[in-house]
Symmetry: C2
Subunit: 191 residues, 2 copies
């Protein structure tokens, strides 16, 4: 049971590389067991805890808790809590950030017009396509055939697009402006 933690970690790494879980024989080689039977028992333990499941084809597949990453609170000093049983919180980042995959598009940010909102050039925003947006939403608008990232605001009864950077002017759209979608998430990779 103590070792299971390490076994799981190896499986997670393998899955991260291959996007599939290996066969029992491969698992044995991977984690350092030398019998498929041992693997079967270990897998059963992981199943019992919800880390893995079986697919309809008796294939191993990640379970609910497989993707749970230790979410460290900014208080504790030692290692992050060993995920005793606390709420998983984070499933996959994908699911967390993209609730409606079929309606979503990834857009790489260019320029710094939203830098005061913490959106930098090179960041990637998750845009959910829709025509309606609320005041306060960060929207992707199409102006002169170009995507533009701005915050939607209202001014004297009219819709305006407000950049979050004092160096840029507020855009007061004429008719040729169209809302492409609203920003529902953002991510950034360092290095």
């Amino acid at each position: 049971m103590a070792n299971d933690r390490q076994y799981l970690a190896k499986l997670q790494d393998y899955y991260a590389r291959h996007r599939v879980l290996p066969s029992y024989a491969s698992i044995a080689a991977l984690v350092g067991l030398s019998s498929k039977a041992s693997v079967a028992e270990m897998v059963m333990r992981l199943k019992a805890h919800g880390f893995v499941e079986s697919s309809p084809d008796r294939r191993l597949k990640p379970g609910k808790r497989f993707f749970e990453r230790p979410v460290a609170e900014s208080v504790r000093a030692g290692l992050p809590a060993p995920a005793s049983d606390a709420a998983p919180e984070a499933v996959t980042i994908d699911e967390h950030l993209v609730p409606h995959p079929s309606r979503s598009v990834l857009v790489t940010v260019k320029g710094d017009s939203m830098i005061d909102a913490g959106i930098h050039a090179g960041d990637v925003v998750v845009v959910e396509k829709r025509v309606a947006a609320n005041v306060g939403d960060i929207v992707v608008a199409i102006i002169d055939n170009e995507f533009t990232l701005k915050r939607l605001d209202r001014e004297k009864g009219h819709i305006v697009l407000r950049p979050e950077n004092k160096a840029y002017p507020i855009i007061r759209p004429k008719d040729d402006t169209e809302i492409f979608g609203i920003v529902v998430g953002l991510f950034r990779k360092y290095r």
Copy 2:
């Protein structure tokens, strides 16, 4: 080849539900073929285009292009290009952001000491645990039993932790400071 597109869509749906690709027999039932041989040929076509691959255990696994999300360039107006053949760039966000799952921890950001680096309170950073860090890295340090997010810098030959917010002082660590890990990614959810 025309049907392959639909077949792929079904596989993607299946994968979204189960996080595994089915066996050839199951694929046959799933997409409406009645011979594993037909499936094998279809799979070969998808393989050739990079949508699926084979794992070391001859298991089907998603290929590079399997997760293609439309990445819109900031030029085109209409719908994002229908994945003609351009490099998709972004795979899954998870994989993109967390290269080493077992060594990574998610930390929710509190406070605004890094706001000039575009890291706001409430953002979640992906922290890769390691003791060594380079100057310029954003690191998570443990100071007085608390996690702190700062940029690692060098000053007169000494390591210092520099906040990205003029309102905060530079921290010149004594001995009781420990690097917990470095920040490799960040994501944020709106709404």
